[in-house]
């Protein structure tokens, strides 16, 4: 995988940034409730996502993290409550990279299909996205013959191709090697700076320290705390979060 130079990165990202970023709220949740299992209810009375930056969703296995972002993204309907999205477009990257059984190029083209682009604009955009994913020269390869890291980089490029205002990621680097993880983190940090709101589930506290602007800590289906990352690591309010940080909280 080629190194991602800063110059290229910024150039590439200009191609994928949403047309209207800003501090206004992009997603509001009210009264969201959903049964996750017999004794576990996801219960989010109110949640607002706004501006830019990276919000990381933390919590033990089974706390309802993945289900929460699925509902925010509209993949799963909650039993009750409303999710109102006003930001234009959104996208999601899954834990295991989902790619079509087509070439690298065709995967990017598919992600661009909803945008009305002139032939020239499209070619330019494809070239940048390829550069961003670090797959220049591999555009004709079958997407599913790539390495795991390359696959996830391509999946991220496909998600960014849709110029999302809001980007969800569900443990995107949990099975990747350090090089690929680094590349994805670099891209995420940059897009967050440049106007995309990111909501990401992670188990990797090192990654949280490196990336997060704020932490949303979920325990047994409820948001236990939501606070800036520094405060989270220096001393969270709740006993559960303290136990989680010291590795003692289990479901």
């Amino acid at each position: 995988m080629r190194d991602l130079g800063r110059e290229i990165l910024v150039q590439s990202l200009r191609q994928v940034l949403p047309e209207n970023g800003g501090p206004d709220s992009v997603l509001t949740v009210t009264g969201l409730r959903s049964n996750l299992s017999d004794d576990l209810v996801l219960d989010i009375p109110r949640l607002t996502l706004s501006g830019t930056g990276i919000s990381m969703v933390l919590g033990t296995n089974g706390a309802g993290k993945s289900m929460l972002i699925r509902m925010l993204h509209g993949l799963t309907k909650p039993d009750a409550g409303r999710v109102i999205f006003t930001g234009g477009s959104q996208a999601m990257v899954f834990q295991n990279p989902v790619l079509l059984r087509r070439s690298v190029f065709a995967n990017l083209k598919f992600a661009l299909k909803d945008q009305r682009l002139s032939r020239g604009d499209r070619a330019e955009k494809l070239a940048y996205l390829l550069e961003l994913a670090g797959l220049k020269g591999k555009e004709r390869q079958s997407a599913r013959s790539l390495s795991g890291g390359e696959e996830q980089c391509l999946a991220l490029a496909c998600a960014l191709a849709r110029r999302p205002r809001l980007l969800f990621l569900d443990e995107p680097t949990s099975s990747l090697d350090p090089t690929a993880t680094h590349r994805i983190e670099t891209i995420l940090r940059q897009v967050a700076l440049m106007g995309i709101k990111i909501v990401m589930v992670s188990h990797d506290l090192g990654q949280v320290e490196r990336l997060a602007d704020e932490v949303i800590f979920l325990n047994r289906g409820r948001i236990c705390e939501r606070l800036p990352v520094e405060s989270f690591f220096s001393g969270p309010d709740s006993a559960e979060a303290r136990a989680y940080l010291s590795g003692q909280l289990v479901l």
Partner: protein, 235 residues
């Protein structure tokens, strides 16, 4: 009775002699069966895909029914199509009985359930894999079908081949609705049945060898096309 080796030799001789009647029969077999498979695919693939991505009351029942129809006996299908197309039947005015079109209709009935059932399976697997991804694009239900069919193209090729195999090898249906009329509706399988009934078992077996060769050729051809298109789809 001729041994298998003699029949093999006879088969080779028939092929090499370029016998016009033989080629006409081979050609008709291919034309009828391939047309039937194309039509069955145009019906079966979308139908199977709809069954794969939608949920409605009675869906399970429909799936069980279609799976069961995969085993329809050709003779029964032949009889049913005969009763429809007979001059005394509801579609008698079309005068299709004893024509290749009648044979195509019967084979479509035979093949469509196979292609539908296998397509459902393939598309269901693709749906499990891509429902979230496509949902992220706002694509749900029947709107995902074109993409899922394309992603399942290799599995669907196998479904088509299964259909070709069933169509080209069956004799019960085409015998009844085609009538095995020389130069009009005589195909490989009905010719084999005829030669067997003449007691010319060597010739029957030789034609059987050619039929098997034909089936292998069609399979190889489609497999080759699939591979070529796989290469091309990455271009």
């Amino acid at each position: 009775m001729n041994g298998f080796a003699d029949s093999l030799q006879l088969a080779l001789g028939l092929i090499l002699s370029g016998d016009a009647d033989l080629w006409a029969i081979v050609g008709l077999s291919l034309r009828v069966s391939l047309t039937a498979v194309v039509i069955a695919a145009l019906v079966g693939m979308p139908l199977g895909a709809v069954l794969a991505v939608t949920r409605f009351a009675g869906r399970k029942g429909v799936i069980v029914l279609i799976n069961a129809l995969m085993g329809l006996p050709p003779v029964v299908v032949g009889l049913a199509v005969y009763l429809m197309l007979s001059a005394s039947g509801p579609l008698g005015v079309l005068q299709l009985l004893y024509t290749p079109t009648a044979m195509i209709i019967a084979q479509v009935v035979l093949v469509a359930p196979i292609i539908t059932a296998l397509s459902r399976q393939v598309v269901e697997d693709m749906h499990a894999e891509y429902a979230d991804y496509l949902g992220s694009f706002g694509m749900r239900g029947v709107r995902t079908i074109p993409t899922l069919l394309w992603e399942g193209r290799f599995g669907l090729t196998t479904a088509l081949l299964a259909g070709v195999g069933r169509a080209i090898a069956e004799v019960g249906a085409v015998m009844i609705v085609g009538g095995n009329i020389n130069h009009v509706t005589r195909v490989m399988t009905t010719t084999i049945a005829l030669e067997t009934s003449k007691g010319d078992l060597g010739m029957a077996l030789a034609l059987g060898v050619i039929l098997i060769g034909l089936a292998i050729s069609v399979n190889a051809l489609i497999a080759g096309m699939t591979q070529a298109s796989a290469r091309q789809s990455y271009a």
